[in-house]
């Protein structure tokens, strides 16, 4: 009976997987992504390139 249910569930997967909707994870990764972008822009363009005596050779 249990196996039947499992088999039944997996045969539904094709439609069921799209219903798996980890919106919280997506949001979290989105926030991390934005933090990473801002941190990179700040570190490279503002802190590094904005400093004096840029080494050119």
């Amino acid at each position: 009976m249990g196996q039947n249910q499992a088999a039944h569930a997996s045969s539904d997967d094709v439609s069921g997987e799209e219903e798996f909707d980890p919106i919280g994870t997506l949001t979290l990764i989105g926030i991390y992504f934005v933090i990473l972008l801002l941190a990179w822009v700040y570190i490279y363009y503002i802190e590094f390139l904005g400093r004096d005596l840029v080494v050119v050779g």
Binding site: E17, L49, V55, G57
Partner: protein
């Protein structure tokens, strides 16, 4: 293979991030011209700096139109010349060597930062802007007096630079 729509999304985002990182480093090299410390200098005899034409008399000299070369010797525990005086709005190439142990050459708060190895000449070229006094420190532990090893890099006006140089010649 079935890939979830969200997974496609963050795969794309991570590829975008990689391209962005590579892109900004490329921009840095092409736009502002950020470069690495050069390794093109020939080795020299660290014990024979007294006879070396560049380092027997550490100094700043004009080598081209608005281009200056600063020959600097690092030693336990200081830098010579001190202060290193360069004119504003110019291109300065530092040639730094050590006569004893490994030192660091870091113009404080700037990107001018290199290791100084006895027998080698570290070459870094920088663009200097307006008049300003920078600190200069050793950032490689070099012995008991490492913490007091410091110097100055003074960016002065063109006039003051010439005055100092002609004053130096007279004396």
């Amino acid at each position: 293979m079935h890939i979830h729509a969200y997974e496609k999304l963050w795969l794309a985002a991570s590829i975008l991030l990689i391209l962005l990182l590579i892109g900004s480093v490329t921009y840095g090299a092409v736009g502002p011209g950020v470069a690495m410390v050069s390794d093109s200098e020939q080795p020299i005899d660290a014990q024979g700096l007294d006879e070396d034409e560049r380092f027997s008399e550490p100094r700043v000299e004009q080598v081209g139109d608005n281009e200056y070369a600063a020959y600097v010797v690092a030693y336990q525990f200081g830098f010579t010349p001190d202060p290193i005086v360069v004119p504003e709005n110019s291109t300065v190439t530092f040639y730094v060597t050590s006569r004893d142990v490994i030192h660091g050459f870091e113009v404080v708060g700037t990107n001018a930062n290199t290791m100084v190895v006895p027998g080698e000449v570290s070459e870094i070229t920088v663009e200097v802007d307006g008049s300003k006094e920078y600190g200069l420190i050793c950032n490689e532990y070099c012995g008991a007096g490492h913490h007091v090893m410091e110097g100055n890099v003074n960016v002065v006006s063109q006039e003051e630079f010439e005055n100092r140089n002609s004053g130096g010649d007279d004396a």
